[in-house]
Subunit: 236 residues, 2 copies
């Protein structure tokens, strides 16, 4: 299958590598492909420069957001939450009619807000939107012809693509969105990654809870110690 | 042990009944004991009148908030989130030096906010405070001499007091607060309820994530179907 991954961060790389391993034709999109390839410094999360990473993953090409979105039959949004709506709106035509998976958490890093605990990046960020709206809903409103599915958002993307790395894989992944067929398509992708418990939380409004869970995720990660991978299982 | 439970709602009743069953001396606090006992209608959540419930639980007395707080060595706050800071501040002296467990979610029911999905009580509420503050932190700031522990907040209180009702009890309860001894005291109480996996999320700031998880909890509950009890297990 032709799958587009928009973004070149650590989360996007996990999907790109796994999808290529599974034989998919992966089209990676970035704002400025030349600029991305020219970078020689690690990104803000400490990932090595994308050009260096790409050299170790032959057969994957880097395109503009528009070219990657046009090529993909299914699209994964790995653009950071703060920039996602603007970047995706600019390629609205290329995304029309397609399923778009969004896993972003709309963190903002406001220097005027006191951040009471340290995170790996030094601050405890807040969310915008939050509570009465969500990034998932914003993207769906901005792209009415696209079938937006919020998914992957409740844990690290490295273990989203490798669920069996945690507790033998017996934990829960959540999906939400307005289109049942699109959610089935995403569930099929998750099944190919190894997921056995995918819970449909209903309409895109459930993005609120999925994004707001980021604070619990962070607190659990700090409690277990950084580097400990974990997931959550809905125990019935 | 002498334990005060402030509040008479469904969550408070679950703790009152279980603590009495375990042989604790339970002191229940309410704003206006005579008014509470005089009520003949179900409360806003559909619980039967407290006087009727109390008649089936002999040996438990109803006091004012101040008298119950004064009598308890350990105090459980079951006052709804919207009123908790004011009601607890009024009994600050009675709570000084004690451990106060808070499980409230600071939902507000604002008729001017559009609530996009139905809940058992008809609206999808929003949280206040949220994201950059929490009710747990507000209570701790209002009562600096009290050791506030946020706990019990991530699931129904009926299953907090009976964890083995779900998946044989193999799920996770969270505690957060500034005082390690107070968190140990709460963990001991949870162990007496049957909990085997209690995760300390750190300082009271972790109340943010615990309270904001309410939206995920609601979405999971809707997905599983109302009446399905569930918990979440942190799978390492």
């Amino acid at each position: 299958m032709k799958i587009a991954v928009l973004g070149t961060g650590g989360g996007a790389r996990a999907h790109i590598a796994k999808l290529a391993e599974h034989g998919h034709e992966v089209h990676v999109g970035t704002r400025d492909p030349q600029g991305t390839l020219a970078r020689t410094e690690p990104d803000m999360m400490g990932n090595p420069p994308f050009g260096q990473w790409l050299a170790g993953h032959p057969g994957i090409e880097l395109h503009t957001f528009a070219d990657a979105a046009a090529a993909g039959e299914l699209v994964i949004n790995g653009i950071d939450g703060h920039n996602a709506v603007a970047a995706l709106s600019a390629v609205e035509a290329e995304l029309a009619g397609k399923t778009l998976i969004d896993y972003a958490v709309p963190y903002i890093y406001d220097p005027d807000i006191e951040h009471p605990w340290p995170t790996p990046w030094g601050v405890n960020p807040v969310l915008d939107p939050c509570d009465s709206d969500s990034l998932g809903e914003q993207i769906q409103r901005a792209l009415p012809a696209t079938k937006v599915v919020k998914a992957f958002v409740t844990q690290e993307q490295a273990t989203v693509v490798d669920p069996r790395a945690i507790g033998g894989g017996d934990h829960t992944m959540f999906v939400a969105g307005q289109d049942a067929d699109a959610k089935r398509q995403v569930t099929d992708l998750l099944t190919s990654y190894g997921w056995t418990d995918v819970l449909d939380l209903g309409g895109i409004v459930a993005s609120r809870g999925m994004e707001m869970y980021a604070h619990m995720h962070g607190a659990i990660g700090i409690a277990l110690g950084f580097g400990t991978h974990f997931g959550i299982k809905v125990v019935r």
